[in-house]
């Protein structure tokens, strides 16, 4: 499920996911409190629904859709931060 979250988020922000980033996100996720991990697991259907809805919009609007609704925005920001942390650590 974390992999799908990562792939969706990376697709929205336009970052190509490598195995290294995927492994990093999984390791990061496994280190956070169980309470928050469960919250993220249970929110998956909503996140996935937004991903499906975003198909009907142009690429430049996709990020806007994800950041417009509070719960989805929190999830989106959470995964976006982890992905760009590793992405820019690899780039530089």
């Amino acid at each position: 499920m974390v992999k799908i979250y990562t792939l969706i988020t990376a697709h929205i922000i336009g970052i190509k996911i490598k195995k290294d980033i995927l492994d990093f996100v999984i390791k990061y996720f496994s280190g956070i409190d169980l309470f928050y991990r469960l919250l993220i697991y249970f929110s998956f259907p909503f996140y996935f629904s937004f991903f499906l809805i975003s198909f009907f919009f142009k690429k430049r609007f996709k990020e806007h859709i994800f950041s417009s609704f509070p719960i989805i925005n929190n999830l989106f920001k959470f995964f976006k931060v982890i992905i760009i942390l590793r992405h820019y650590d690899n780039v530089n």
Binding site: I13, G14, I15, F24, K27, Y28, G31, I32, D33, L34, F35, Y36, E63, H64, S67, P70, N73, N74, K77, K80, V81, I84, L85, R86, H87, Y88, D89, V91, N92
Partner: protein, 476 residues
């Protein structure tokens, strides 16, 4: 059996342990984190998150807005990952703790003596501003606006501006507690056990007689008989231990400072990669609990700091990061607190808070002031810590964006938590005595940031250490 078993080796644990050893008591410290050499911090930046930051740096305080709180987990506690600033809490605050909260340990003369001792042990000196261009740009802006600045007192020796403070110092310049107090503790015969986490506290009548400890190295549990137990696990972990063991019904609210970062791009190259954190402060608003300073400039964390912007803006900033700088405003929140919520049945623990209207206006006021300073320093564009904001090319644009922003739009993070087990006499039916002892338990004490009566408005490490030394003296 040793006289005192201490949980945590951060500011509280190391200073009370040293004081007790000096008084001829025997001491052992159990620390949840590992011990790290300076060389360890040379590895990949994002990999260090897993080692030195609790929960990989993700301790959320939910509410409006959601914020992230960070603390270190290592031998030396958060001193391993902080900026090394050692400031003194204002005398009027110390005096109010003695006079209004009825706490005799906050005697200015004794606290000042402890400050001097801490500063000597930690090799505190005024930061060298040479080559630190981002700090100088802040100074230029402040001077143009007539705001006072000061060199920051830092616990460093021969800082080489590796710009890595928040992930552990790779050059060994930062005088964290593992390099100073804890070394002294070992030389005086104290024992420090790393990777050992306190799990349970067992009682016999009205005293603690045994603790259960989890050994992270071989993933096993062991029990340890104890004479006296001192909890120094920090402002969140200490009340969490007390709540999980059903020793107290509820903790006091967590008070903290809000940190907000503004990123700026200049028309010319700024050598921020070779500068360091917090060398110069704008101290004009110190009485209001506000400090402005430059911050660590590390690529992946820069990008993360721009998380509220669209990828297009992040990519643009990162491409031009050689002419960028990052500035931080630290604001004391006057009436916004986080409540610690624990449910032993469901085994959940989390923190919830609400930003008050008064504090919201205070944050907006000082964000406006900091953007003014940055533009005065010659910035071409700035990136505000607001959700869905646009990069601002002019000061009036940033004022406009700040004026229309709402509480939930703010991107806040925090590091300085305190007062969750406040020893104040003002609190009716307080569960902790002014000497730091948990009521109805004869040998269980608290000595860390959680005992402070109110928010300090300053970096709290020095006052935590000074106060816990005083608590140690009471155990003569």
């Amino acid at each position: 059996m040793v006289d005192y078993t201490i949980i945590g080796s951060g500011a509280g644990g190391s200073s009370i342990a040293l004081q007790l050893l000096k008084q001829g008591k025997s001491v052992e410290i159990f620390e949840e984190g590992n011990f790290y050499n300076s060389d360890f911090f040379k590895k990949k930046k994002t990999d260090l998150l897993f080692d030195v930051w609790r929960n990989n740096g993700f301790i959320p305080i939910t509410g409006s807005p959601n914020i992230v709180y960070s603390e270190g987990v290592a031998v030396g506690g958060t001193s391993v990952i902080n900026g090394g600033i050692i400031t003194r809490t204002a005398n009027n605050i110390i005096d109010s703790w003695r006079a209004h909260h009825g706490l005799d340990i906050f005697n200015i003369k004794n606290i000042t003596r402890n400050y001097e001792f801490n500063e000597r042990m930690l090799n505190v000196s005024l930061a060298n501003n040479q080559g630190n261009y981002s700090s100088r740009l802040l100074e230029i802006g402040a001077k143009k606006l007539g705001l006072s600045t000061k060199q920051a007192p830092r616990a460093v020796i021969n800082c080489v501006n590796s710009n890595h403070c928040a992930l552990g110092c790779p050059s060994g310049a930062k005088q964290s507690l593992d390099k100073t107090f804890l070394k002294e503790i070992v030389s005086l015969g104290g024992k420090i056990y790393s990777n050992k986490k306190l799990e349970k506290i067992f009682f016999r009548r009205n005293s603690v007689n045994e603790i259960q400890v989890f050994n992270k190295e071989d993933k096993s549990f062991f029990n340890k008989s104890i004479k006296n137990l001192i909890l120094c696990a920090g402002p969140i972990q200490t009340p969490k231990i007390l709540l999980k063991n059903k020793i107290i019904p509820r903790a006091h609210p967590l008070q903290f400072h809000a940190n907000l970062k503004i990123l700026a791009l200049y028309p010319y190259e700024v050598n921020s990669y070779n500068s360091t954190i917090f060398t110069k402060h704008i101290n004009e608003f110190e009485d209001d609990g506000v400090l402005m300073m430059s911050s660590n400039y590390i690529d992946p964390f820069l990008a993360a700091g721009l998380n509220n912007y669209k990828m297009q803006s992040i990519e643009y900033f990162m491409k031009n990061s050689f002419r960028g700088a990052i500035f931080n405003v630290q604001i004391k929140l006057d009436d916004s607190y986080a409540n610690l919520i624990n449910n032993n049945f469901l085994r959940i623990f989390f923190m919830k808070w609400k930003l008050s209207q008064k504090d919201f206006f205070k944050i907006i006021k000082y964000l406006k002031k900091l953007s003014e300073v940055i533009f005065m320093g010659g910035a071409q564009e700035i990136y505000l810590p607001i959700n869905k904001a646009q990069p601002c090319l002019r000061l009036d644009e940033s004022f406009k964006q700040l004026s229309i922003s709402k509480k939930n739009d703010l991107e806040i993070n925090s590091v300085h938590g305190m007062s969750t087990c406040s020893i104040s006499k003002k609190i009716i039916n307080n569960f902790i005595s002014p000497e730091g002892r948990i009521n109805n338990v004869s040998n269980l004490f608290v000595a860390d940031a959680s005992i402070l009566p109110t928010n300090t408005g300053q970096h709290p490490q020095n006052i935590i250490m000074a106060a816990t030394i005083e608590l140690g003296r009471l155990k003569q």
